[in-house]
């Protein structure tokens, strides 16, 4: 792939991720815990991690969190989601690179979701100076099993399509 194509692809994926972030902010969850989310943009992040590698998915992730900050305009939730997003991507990268013989994308995605929750709750308890916020964590772990499962499951399809498209472009 040449540079311009590469750039266009990253921009498209970032746009998708931002769209999903805004979309999941609209959907109400049945469980009220701070920072509990469906993790829809993680489908894009996980797919780009597998297809394009760590650096590019990190770029998508950082640009996404900043764009979401501009669109939704909540600086406090930006801090939480920024640390959550970075640590989740780091964990997913490590698990995918070194343990992919053992874990499928579903496992990778669950690891990511758990890292995201842990980082968010840790950030929240640091900012509010209250360690009791960690008592939200067990419930959030259980939720992240479900969300992580479906995100990992869906990522398989996205990766399949992405590989097809890239393959096509390279030959045309």
């Amino acid at each position: 792939m040449n540079k311009t194509r590469n750039f266009t692809f990253l921009a498209l994926l970032t746009a998708f991720a931002v769209l999903l972030s805004v979309f999941e902010n609209i959907i109400p969850l049945p469980i009220a815990a701070p920072g509990a989310k469906l993790g829809l943009p993680n489908m894009i992040i996980l797919s780009s991690l597998v297809v394009f590698g760590f650096k590019k998915s990190l770029a998508i992730n950082i640009v996404r969190t900043f764009l979401v900050l501009i669109i939704i305009g909540n600086p406090i939730s930006f801090i939480y989601s920024f640390f959550g997003a970075i640590s989740s991507l780091l964990i997913m990268y490590i698990v995918h690179k070194y343990l992919s013989n053992y874990f499928s994308l579903i496992g990778v995605s669950i690891f990511g979701a758990i890292a995201h929750n842990t980082a968010q709750v840790a950030t929240a308890s640091l900012i509010l100076e209250n360690p009791n916020i960690f008592s939200y964590l067990p419930v959030m772990y259980i939720i992240s099993l479900f969300t992580g499962f479906f995100v990992g499951f869906a990522s398989n399809f996205i990766i399949e399509q992405l590989n097809k498209v890239i393959y096509k472009i390279d030959w045309s």
Binding site: A32, I127, L137
Partner: protein
């Protein structure tokens, strides 16, 4: 889905349930319960929590307000002008260790317990 995925899922479920059990177990050792409200890490107010207290507290921060209600030994955030309303949707809490967080306003409502009497309490 591989074998290790399933092991991971079972492991996480086990850990979470165990942690929930610990939190609950620690709560049952107390005979006195208090409602503590903190704003941005600093104590705002503290109340005794028992079945006879009926109170409405308005917490005003520089970001907005939360109206907290204490009734029948239960605490809830009745109203807030925060953007995500998670504190309102969390519902009632009543056991030590339980906590309501309003992240946008940095307001924390938590129930603490102790097994001894305190000298000064604001009613």
């Amino acid at each position: 889905m591989t074998k290790y995925d399933k092991i991971l899922i079972v492991f996480v479920v086990f850990i979470s349930l165990f942690a929930m059990y610990i939190v609950k177990e620690r709560a049952s050792n107390y005979n006195k319960k208090y409602v503590e409200i903190t704003v941005d890490g600093e104590e705002h107010s503290k109340y005794v929590l028992d079945n006879n207290i009926d109170k409405e507290i308005e917490v005003i921060t520089d970001k907005g307000y939360n109206i907290i209600q204490i009734q029948n030994g239960q605490v809830l955030v009745e109203e807030s002008d925060c953007n995500n309303q998670l504190c309102v949707r969390k519902g009632v809490i009543e056991e030590p260790g339980e906590i309501i967080v309003c992240l946008p306003h940095k307001v924390v409502v938590q129930i603490t317990g102790s097994s001894e009497d305190l000298d000064s309490i604001s009613y």
